[in-house]
């Protein structure tokens, strides 16, 4: 116990007295964490954007003009029973016509064609939103049942298919891209932390030898250096948390404004996930620090 407290004291003393070395090490740790957090933030923003675009995609199913409202309502109920479906809204024939006119108000040819036709050529419709854009093919496939198929005049499935495919491919690629980016920066971070600690231990190599010659056992020599690397990780994580808190509280309104309508509250994201996010960052730094310290010290302990 006495030795344990001495080891803690030596670690703190060494950090204070080797101020510049400590400063450089903590700075490198913080820079590493800034890189990692940048990737995390970009990933959150990209995911939110993709989700938001996916959320806006809707498929409209037009029914034949002779379909009864009951039929359409029963299809609506059937669709709402599917777990992939988020929302199904009912559109009357009149609303469908009004929407159509609105959507094509700059296209005089189509509007003229519409005037040629007697009455309302459009039937009732259902607008479907799904939780995931990639679920649309399944949902539309579900409407192919013999019970409902005769009443369905048109699904704008074909028109959306390529867009949906592009979008879901894009979101997959964004995730994969960020995973690769995270791994790449993670690898660089490991190298930086590894080398910084190796340099720090190299600076102390003579002292390690001296401690051994005066009768210190391996753990007494190793202890303060291992603890130091944990303290560095702790300080760096705390500084990073402070940087994130101050930067986001300033920038969050601008980010929210920039991604209009997209749910990207980074402050809320960091607040709800603070423990796992910063816990993991501290854990990774501490683990790297401990491993590298132990590895780098091995040869200097052989005195």
């Amino acid at each position: 116990m006495r030795s344990f407290f001495r080891i803690i004291r030596f670690a703190l003393q060494s950090m204070m007295r080797n101020f510049w070395l400590s400063f450089v090490t903590v700075s490198v740790f913080v820079l590493t964490l800034i890189t990692i957090n940048s990737v995390i933030i970009l990933n959150v923003l990209a995911n939110a954007s993709v989700k938001s675009v996916e959320g806006r995609v809707q498929v409209t199913v037009y029914f034949t003009s002779d379909s009864s409202e009951d039929t359409v309502k029963s299809v609506q109920g059937y669709l709402l029973g599917l777990s992939q479906v988020k929302e199904v809204s009912y559109v009357t024939a009149e609303e469908a016509l009004a929407n159509f006119k609105l959507n094509h108000q700059n296209d005089p040819v189509i509007l003229a064609a519409l005037d040629e036709v007697d009455g309302n050529p459009l039937g009732q419709a259902l607008k479907i939103r799904a939780y995931n854009a990639s679920d649309f093919p399944f949902i539309l496939e579900a409407l192919e049942t013999p019970e409902y198929k005769p009443f369905i005049k048109e699904k704008n499935y074909d028109n959306y298919e390529s867009a949906l495919k592009v979008l879901s491919d894009f979101s997959e690629k964004v995730r994969l891209g960020f995973l690769i980016l995270a791994l790449f920066f993670g690898f660089i971070a490991i190298l930086i932390v590894f080398n910084t600690i190796r340099v720090a231990i190299y600076v102390h190599r003579e002292e390690i030898g001296i401690m051994k010659l005066v009768g210190a056992n391996d753990w007494f020599v190793r202890g303060p250096f291992l603890l130091e690397s944990i303290f560095y990780a702790l300080i760096a994580t705390a500084i990073m948390a402070a940087i994130i808190a101050s930067t986001l509280s300033f920038a969050n309104p601008y980010i929210v404004a920039f991604f209009q309508g997209v749910d990207v509250d980074l402050v809320a994201y960091y607040t709800t996930n603070a423990a796992p996010l910063f816990g993991a960052q501290f854990g990774i730094l501490a683990f790297l620090g401990l491993g590298t310290t132990a590895f780098a010290m091995r040869r200097y302990l052989r005195v």
């Binding site: 001296i210 401690m211 051994k212």
Partner: protein, 261 residues
């Protein structure tokens, strides 16, 4: 072998001699007539360097022995073997009753806490004060903080640095740094002090003061092994001299002189 403090008379310029008794010197438990034994010790460094070739000698408790020889004669290797910085290629080394020829890595700290070591380059921890450097030798051995607070200032006084405990090594002269290193070697009441060229970085006057400090420590009963190539120091001591030449014992004489090659 045991001498009283009154028998020690340092020169007028020497720092005041403090009593070693409060440190618990002269414990019967560590009194052993034969302190160091080298039996046919050989040390080779690959590929083909023979630092020592069949060296044998015995050093009794309380002796002051100078080990001399030219560069490359193997004298520093003897020091390194005694505090287990190196292991012999063959032969046996005993410290007291303990055969350290094949000492386990984990036992080396225990050995070193019983041997004080002084080096030419002082080997002080640069980021620790003189007090902390001396205290470190006790802290590694798990001594209580109270005892450290009691003993360290006392030992610093013995080496004449009573007022300079708060200074860092860079704030001390070479001679003062060597005194700190001697205080560190003394503080855990070692049976043996091994000094490897302790005066190599010091001017002649400071060197003489350091050697006087060693003779005084020896007067209190601690075995001293002084590795040096300084002829004046060896000749001025009038103590036992083991001379090494090309890794072998060339001579071993009571009240010896430095032999010219």
């Amino acid at each position: 072998m045991r001498r009283s403090l009154r028998s020690v008379r340092g020169p007028p310029s020497a720092p005041p001699v403090e009593s070693l008794a409060p440190l618990g010197w002269f414990d019967a438990a560590w009194y052993n007539p034969i302190m160091i034994t080298f039996k046919n010790v050989t040390k080779e460094y690959p590929p083909k360097t023979h630092a020592l070739a069949g060296v044998s000698f015995r050093i009794e408790a309380g002796e002051f022995v100078s080990i001399t020889g030219q560069s490359g004669s193997g004298k520093s290797t003897v020091a390194k073997l005694i505090f287990a910085e190196e292991k012999p290629t063959s032969g046996h080394i005993h410290i007291g009753d303990w055969d350290i020829s094949n000492i386990r890595h984990s036992d080396i700290p225990i050995l070193r806490r019983q041997i004080g070591v002084v080096f030419q380059d002082f080997k002080l921890l640069p980021k620790k004060t003189a007090f902390e450097n001396v205290a470190f030798a006790l802290e590694v051995a798990g001594e209580s903080s109270k005892r450290i607070r009691d003993v360290v200032p006392h030992v610093l006084k013995i080496v004449g640095l009573g007022e300079k405990g708060g200074r860092y090594p860079r704030q001390l002269s070479g001679g003062e740094q060597q005194r700190v290193s001697i205080a560190r070697a003394l503080v855990h009441r070692p049976k043996i002090i091994v000094a490897d060229e302790p005066t190599g970085n010091l001017d002649a006057i400071t060197a003489r003061e350091i050697i006087e400090l060693f003779t005084r420590i020896n007067d209190f009963g601690t075995t001293i092994v002084l590795v040096t190539h300084d002829r004046d120091i060896v000749n001025g001591l009038h103590r036992r001299v083991i001379t090494l030449r090309e890794g072998k014992v060339a001579s071993d004489a009571e009240k010896g002189k430095y032999l010219l090659a």
